[in-house]
Structure formats: C-alpha cells, structure tokens
C-alpha cells in the first residue's frame, strides 16, 4: 500500500487541486445538505435533528410546494417540446447547406449563451410589459395585447417563449446529428418516390432518435432547474399570484430569504429525486424508440 502511494505520488499531486475541489466544494456540501434536510437550521443556531419532519411538512402541509411543483411541471411540459421542435426546425433549415452556415450557427447560438444571463431576463420583462415592444407591435395591427407578465394567466407562457428562443445548444446538437445521416439514404428514398414528410418521419426522426433522446434528457434536466429568468421576471417572488413560483425560486426563497436551510435542503433533495426519476423513465423507455446503429444484439 505504501509502495503504491509512493509509486503514484506524482499522479496524486496533479490530481490534488481537483480532489480538493471535489471533496470541499461538491461532495462535502452534497452530504451536508442531505444531513441538513433532516434538521431545522436557520444558519444562526446549530442544526436540530427533526427526522422526516421537513419531508412530512412538504408533502402534507405546504401548499406553496405543490404550487411550485405545478408551475415547474407545466413549464417543463411546454418548454422542453417547444424548444426541441424549434431547435430541430432551425437545424433542418441550416442543414440545407447554406454557404454562410457558420455565421447563422453563431447568430442562432447567441441567445443560448446570453439566455441565462440577467440582462436577457430584464430585456424579456420589458419586451412583454404592458407597454412593451410586443404590445406596441400588436397595437400596430389593431390588437390590444394583454399585460403578459403581470397577468397570472399568461406570465408562464412568456417564459416558455423565452425558453423556445434559447434553442441554440440543442440546435447545434441536432445539426451535428442531421449531418451524420448519410445523404444516400435520402437519395434512395427520393428515387423510390418517398414524399418529404414521409422521409422526415420514416428516416430522419428514427435515425435522429439517439440525438433527440440526448437533447430530451439534457433539456428536461435544464428546464427543471430553471431559475434566473423566473427569478428576475417575477422580482424574486414567484409573482403574479405564484404563477411564476418555479421550484428553484421557491427553494431559493426558503433558503436565503427565510433562512429555512433544513427545509430548503429537503426541497433540493426532492428535486434531485424528480430529475432522477424523469431521467430514469427516459432511459427505460428509450429502448423502445431509440435506434443505435452500432448497438450489440
């Protein structure tokens, strides 16, 4: 054992920065939050063990928790398909072999780079405000627009539109996937008189399934974790009428506004369970719809 460490010492020296980071900044806080989720902790006094108390409260008495779940699930159900469809559509347009494809790729990817930033969320708030650009444009064609962000019935949809607009990263992955489908499959289909729509449903979609699956899992995880845009647009409260009370916004408020660290930790662990469950479902069902060319039989 001693000799083993002596022989591999240089490797450990090089690994040390990462190991320190992993144990102190990742694994340590993860385990600490698991412990804290079974305590009552306000960051001032020492954590007090309460067993399953936080979880019991969450599921049985906390109405806002259920509201946060509802908002988040609705958002995920709308934003993920919307963003993926948008991404695939633009990727298919770009796959037509435009000469300036590099430029377009960069332009379309830009919102994804900026998307999570505070500035874009503020811009979004102004675009969809009662006297914002969207309503001004609608007014030009004689339509009286709603107060999109302050109306609880429409506020969530403004965030779904924002999510659609951030299609850059799945689009790039789709584009790479489309490029990987051999051209001669389409040429064979062309000679066989296969209509475009049937080519899309019978060739493109099945052959793109591994990429769709990858994007679906990534975007689902990403959407469950949506925070900054909702936080900015709702002024950090989840308003109006909790219609923008995303799970992460609720969690943040519990932790850093009301200093209920134990409860916030429990919320965080339950979010992990939700994401893990959805990912597991996606992986389990994938064998029925994802075709891998090189998989073993």
């Amino acid at each position: 054992m001693k000799r083993f460490f002596a022989r591999n010492a240089p490797a450990y020296v090089f690994l040390l920065p990462w190991l320190i980071g992993f144990f102190l900044l990742a694994l340590g806080p993860i385990l600490a939050s698991l412990y804290l989720s079974f305590t009552r902790y306000d960051m001032v006094s020492a954590p007090r063990w309460i067993g399953w108390g936080n979880y019991e409260y969450m599921f049985t008495r906390d109405r806002r928790f259920w509201k946060a779940l509802e908002v988040t699930f609705t958002y995920v159900a709308l934003a993920v398909p919307a963003r993926l469809i948008m991404a695939l559509g633009v990727a298919m347009l770009l796959d037509k072999g435009l000469r300036t494809i590099g430029l377009y790729r960069a332009i379309f990817y830009l919102p994804s780079l900026l998307g999570a930033s505070i500035a874009i969320a503020i811009l979004w708030r102004q675009l969809f405000a009662a006297d914002g650009v969207v309503n001004q444009v609608l007014a030009m064609v004689g339509i009286q627009g709603a107060s999109w962000i302050t109306d609880p019935d429409t506020s969530l949809y403004t965030l779904v539109v924002l999510a659609m607009w951030q299609f850059g990263s799945p689009m790039l992955i789709f584009l790479a996937g489309l490029r990987g489908i051999p051209r001669d499959l389409y040429e064979a289909a062309e000679i066989d008189g296969t209509p475009r729509w049937r080519q899309f449903t019978r060739i493109t979609l099945p052959l793109l399934a591994p990429v769709i699956f990858f994007n679906l899992v990534l975007q689902t995880i990403d959407s469950f974790k949506t925070f900054s845009s909702a936080f900015i647009i709702s002024n950090g409260t989840g308003a109006p009428a909790d219609s923008l009370l995303f799970y992460t916004v609720y969690l943040f408020n519990e932790a850093f506004k009301f200093f209920r660290m134990g409860y916030a930790s429990a919320l965080a662990w339950f979010l992990l369970v939700i994401i893990a469950t959805f990912t597991a479902i996606a992986f389990f069902t994938s064998k029925y719809w994802v075709h891998y060319e090189n998989e073993r039989d």
């Binding site: 051999p182 499959l185 289909a189 000679i191 066989d192 008189g193 099945p206 060319e293």
Partner: protein, 364 residues
C-alpha cells in the same frame, strides 16, 4: 425495359465543367458499363440519369421520353448505391418494401414482389434481420433486392461492389451477370475497376475528364484501343508502352525502339514521327517472336496459372511479360523476349491509334 439517349449532355458546377457535350445511346436491354479513373465524371453522369443531379445542358431521354425535368421517382428506374443505402433501423423485409409503399402497390403485391426478390437473391432467411446484422455481401444483395422489387425500366449501379472484399466481389460479379441474364433489363453500371467492366458489360464507355474516350464491346476495347489512355486503362496486367521512332524508307516504315532491333512495317499514314508502341504482356513471349531482343529478369511474380516477368531491356526500360507459368525463372537471368508484329498497337504523338496499312516481317 427502355433504351436511353444522352444528347450533348453537360454538367457544370459554377465555372468547373465536369461533363462536356456527351452523346451516348444505350440500347434497350443492354448492360452498359461506365468506367474511368476517379473524378472522370462517371458517377455524376449516373446521378444525372437517375435525376439526383441537375443537367446543365443537353437532354436525357429514357424510352424515347425526355426526362430532364422529371423527378427521380418518375423516371421508372432504380439505383444501387456503393454504400448500399439501406435504412439501418428497418428490417430487411421493410427495406425491400419501403419504396413500393410510395407507389400505391397493394399489400399482397408488395408481399409477392418482396418474396420473389428474396427468393432470387437467396436472402429469405435474412428477412427479419437489421442491416447491421448482415455481412457486406448480404447487404449488397438486399440493396439489389430493393431495386428488383420496383420492377424498373432501368437499373443503375454506382460502384456496387467496391466495398466488398476481393473474393466476394468475384462472386457478386457472377451473380449480377446472371441476374442481368435473367431479367434482361437495361442496366448502367459505374465502376473504376476495369475487370468488372470487362467481365460484365455488353458495351463499355471509357470516360476521362468528362469526355468519352472510347465506346465499344470489351473485345473492341481490348484488341483495338483507340488511344493510349484506353490502352493503358483496359487490361490487367497493364499494357507495355514503348517510345519508338518511325522512319519512312522506300515504301515501308522502319520502327526503332531503344533496346530492341529495328524492324520494318507497312507504311504508316502519318510518315516520319515519334510513336508509342503498345504490346500486351500476354503478347510478349520468352524466346521467340517476329521481333526479338535481349533482356534481364528483374522480378519474377509466380501467380500459379501464369508467371509475370519484369524484364529490363538494355535501354533500361522494363517490360512486363505474362508467361504460362510452367517454366521456372530466376531474377538476374538473361532472356530473349519477342513479339509478333500483328500484336502491336501504334499510337501517334497525340496518343491516337494509327494503323499501318499492311505489316511485314522483321528486317534487320
């Protein structure tokens, strides 16, 4: 079945011209092979016939009907791709049936045609497999099967055997030839392999730089190549080329080749000039011939049915001789090699074939 006519067909990509003013008539029921080196335009031409590439100029007619503006699916043809182009997520059965489902063919008719193609190509036991579970040869059969079920007027093959190993290629070549004999449908076959071209074609088109170098039967191309390019391209092992000089002398022409004795032939239509003489390795013999010369064996390649001898003349030029394989040779041995005058091919300085009016015997 249908014949095909190409009139002044050209293809340009911007300023780059791939095919220029090409004229070609393909008979009904013919097996025509387009052969040529990489980049000669043969695949582009096939794709233009298929409707996968636009035509920059000229007309293409199938069965007497101009098809320039017809989409690929309306040209009543099918195509076998080099990569097989099988749909990887579909079983063999679905791959075979996929195209037919676009043509409003009844389900029972689809099943009948698929079963018939499977029987002809002996792939009945593979019908429920996916392409990844098939060997290269089996994939190629499925690809051919997909063409057969369409019952097209015209079959197009784009280098269909080039992804197969040598043994399988020979086997599939024979199978394709027997399929052609059985169906009798017009087939256009693209290859860069002149052996494939020679063994399967009714006629061969040799292409270079988007132009036809020669069109003819395999025998025509082998025995009377019209230019140096065709002489060098057709035939394996490759034809020997010798630089020569022709001098007119009293009603006959004396030909001088470095390392060989001068010899006389009937007058060449072009008079005194530099020539290229070509002689096939199988037309060169050890020990005898109308014209003989001395050389040294540089390399012996024993192939069983024949032995290839690389023999250096005193001029340093190395000639390839195909011997019958019954005699043993050693590197470094001095040998006499010879050829008969009727076996020589003459090409002028522009590389075009020239014919002496009448050949005479050797004159020292």
């Amino acid at each position: 079945m249908a014949g095909l006519t190409l009139r002044n067909v050209g293809k340009r990509y911007g300023a780059l011209s791939i095919i220029q003013g090409l004229n070609l008539g393909i008979h009904d029921g013919e097996f025509l092979v387009l052969v040529g080196p990489s980049g000669c335009g043969k695949s582009t031409l096939l794709r233009m016939i298929a409707g996968l590439e636009d035509i920059s100029e000229g007309t293409i007619s199938i069965g007497g009907k101009v098809v320039n503006d017809l989409p690929a699916s309306k040209r009543e043809l099918s195509m076998v791709f080099q990569s097989y182009a099988l749909y990887p997520h579909m079983s063999v059965r679905k791959n075979l049936a996929f195209g037919l489902q676009n043509f409003k063919v009844s389900r029972s008719e689809v099943e009948r045609r698929v079963a018939e193609a499977a029987r002809i190509l002996q792939i009945e036991q593979l019908m429920d497999r996916k392409p990844r579970q098939l060997s290269g040869g089996q994939k190629q059969r499925v690809a051919i099967g997909r063409s057969i079920v369409r019952e097209p007027q015209l079959f197009l093959f784009d280098e269909p055997l080039s992804n197969l190993d040598a043994e399988l290629r020979v086997q599939m070549r024979a199978e394709l030839a027997s399929l052609y004999a059985r169906l009798g449908t017009t087939m256009i076959y693209v290859t860069h392999d002149q052996v494939e071209a020679m063994t399967m074609a009714s006629r061969i088109v040799v292409l270079r730089g988007g132009k036809i170098e020669q069109l003819g039967t395999p025998q025509d191309l082998y025995t009377r190549p019209q230019n140096l390019f065709v002489a060098g391209f057709i035939g394996s092992p490759k034809i020997n080329m010798l630089q020569a000089k022709a001098t007119r002398e009293a009603g006959r022409t004396v030909v001088s080749v470095a390392g060989m004795p001068d010899f006389a032939i009937a007058e060449l239509p072009t008079g005194d000039q530099a020539l290229t003489l070509c002689v096939r390795p199988s037309s060169l013999r050890v020990g005898s011939g109308d014209v003989t010369g001395e050389g040294t064996i540089r390399l012996v390649e024993y192939l069983g049915s024949e032995t290839l001898l690389h023999i250096a003349l005193s001029s340093g030029q190395v000639l390839l001789v195909s011997d019958n394989g019954r005699t043993s040779y050693r590197m470094g041995d001095p040998v006499t090699i010879g050829f008969d005058l009727p076996d020589l091919h003459y090409f002028d300085s522009t590389g075009q074939r020239i014919e002496p009016i009448q050949k005479e015997s050797q004159a020292q």
